[in-house]
């Protein structure tokens, strides 16, 4: 008796839900009818999401880019481009979320790089990046190192594409943050660190600023000291 009633009750609930959902609805609207846009911007405690769901989403992003990319460098460029708008927005969001007194826009290169190395990394991956260095080659080049990028956690690169590093997506995010803060970059690229045995997935993000940014930094330095 009770079994025969169950499907009926279930279909009633379903009908109610269908009637309540907006016409354009579907998966876009959660059952609580609170989308991500209805939540307070400062709510960070419940913002963690499943690693597996990110992994599957990232797979689809890579295959989407791969279908349209004729070469490895083009594929990296596409991944970079998909991370770029995220960086622009994250800069605003993360500065907004800082405590009011320390919510300052980074105006010096070091402050900006510290922001990327610590605040941005903690927000995205739950820990700061592993190293921040100035390149030996040029004063305009900085390197941020991550021993085990989360985006590459499940990815094995096939031999014929060994140069590819899918952390180019993260490089795009960094580029967005730098550009959004007014530090125009030549490029931000992700490279495999060579000769690493302990951390086979070690990745170096190479940030190249444009000469005018370095020039401005020099003037600011002269003015304050």
């Amino acid at each position: 008796m009770s079994i025969s009633q169950q499907p009926k009750a279930a279909s009633n609930v379903l009908q109610q839900q269908l009637q309540q959902a907006p016409p354009s609805g579907g998966l876009r609207y959660p059952s609580s009818k609170k989308t991500i846009y209805d939540r307070n911007l400062n709510r960070t405690r419940t913002s963690e999401l499943s690693r597996a769901s990110f992994a599957y989403l990232f797979i689809e992003m890579i295959s989407y880019a791969q279908k349209r990319a004729p070469s490895v460098s083009d594929l990296e460029k596409r991944l970079n481009a998909s991370g770029y708008p995220l960086g622009l927005k994250l800069l605003d969001l993360l500065i907004y979320r800082e405590p009011p007194r320390s919510a300052l826009r980074p105006t010096r290169i070091l402050a900006l790089l510290q922001f990327v190395h610590t605040t941005l990394w903690k927000h995205l991956f739950g820990r700061p990046a592993d190293a921040l260095e100035l390149s030996n080659n040029s004063p305009a080049e900085y390197m941020i190192t991550d021993n085990e990028p989360l985006v590459n956690a499940y990815i094995s690169i096939p031999k014929e594409m060994s140069q590819l590093n899918c952390a180019a997506y993260v490089a795009g995010i960094i580029e967005g943050v730098c550009d959004g803060a007014g530090f125009v970059t030549e490029s931000v690229t992700a490279h495999w660190a060579e000769g690493e045995d302990i951390w086979p997935g070690k990745t170096i993000f190479l940030i190249k600023f444009k000469p005018e940014v370095i020039e401005r930094e020099g003037i600011l330095k002269g003015g304050t000291s």
């Binding site: 079994i3 992994a55 599957y56 797979i59 791969q66 499940y154 899918c166």
Partner: protein
């Protein structure tokens, strides 16, 4: 104690896809007489067939009594598939071969819900083979299925999967 530790060995892991093709073959210990890669392919295909036959060899007594009684008591106008599909009365699916044992080794088969089969050759003394297989399946789900450069049902060539397996099966010993 020491001797016992040495007896516990995981020899080989084979992964067979839905169609019976061998997609992964790796030996972890050389003490099992080596199969050539061609032999492994034949073994995979043969096992796939025998497994499928074994699934269909199901004694009627193994069927749950509720479905039997309802099928016999209702008249021929009722639809037997409707009673079978009602919640709670679904028969446990036939599993096919799970373990094959000889004096020298034991073959344990783990089939996923999607039909991929993991065959693990171990020494007969090896305990907890189920737990090992579950962990291997976990590694497969992580490093093979979440790898954007892997095409499903094709041979597995994923560096991180290899490394994870060696770390788990060789390093843990």
């Amino acid at each position: 104690m020491l001797r016992k530790e040495q007896d516990r060995v995981v020899f080989t892991l084979l992964i067979i896809n839905k169609a019976g093709g061998l997609i992964y073959n790796r030996a972890f210990d050389s003490s099992l007489a080596g199969l050539s890669s061609n032999d492994s392919l034949i073994l995979a295909g043969t096992f796939h067939g025998v497994h499928a036959i074994a699934r269909n060899l199901c004694p009627p007594s193994a069927l749950p009594s509720s479905t039997l009684s309802s099928a016999s008591s209702t008249s021929f106008t009722s639809n037997p598939s409707a009673s079978a599909s009602a919640p709670g009365t679904r028969a446990t699916p036939a599993t096919g071969i799970q373990v094959l044992e000889t004096a020298r080794f034991r073959l344990t088969c783990f089939q996923t819900v999607t039909g991929t089969k993991f065959l693990l050759f171990t020494s007969p003394e090896q305990p907890n083979v189920d737990a090992i297989l579950r962990r291997v399946y976990e590694l497969y789900a992580d490093f093979v299925m979440k790898n954007p450069f892997y095409t499903t049902e094709m041979p597995v060539r994923c560096e991180k999967f290899d490394r994870g397996l060696v770390g788990f099966l060789v390093g843990a010993r």
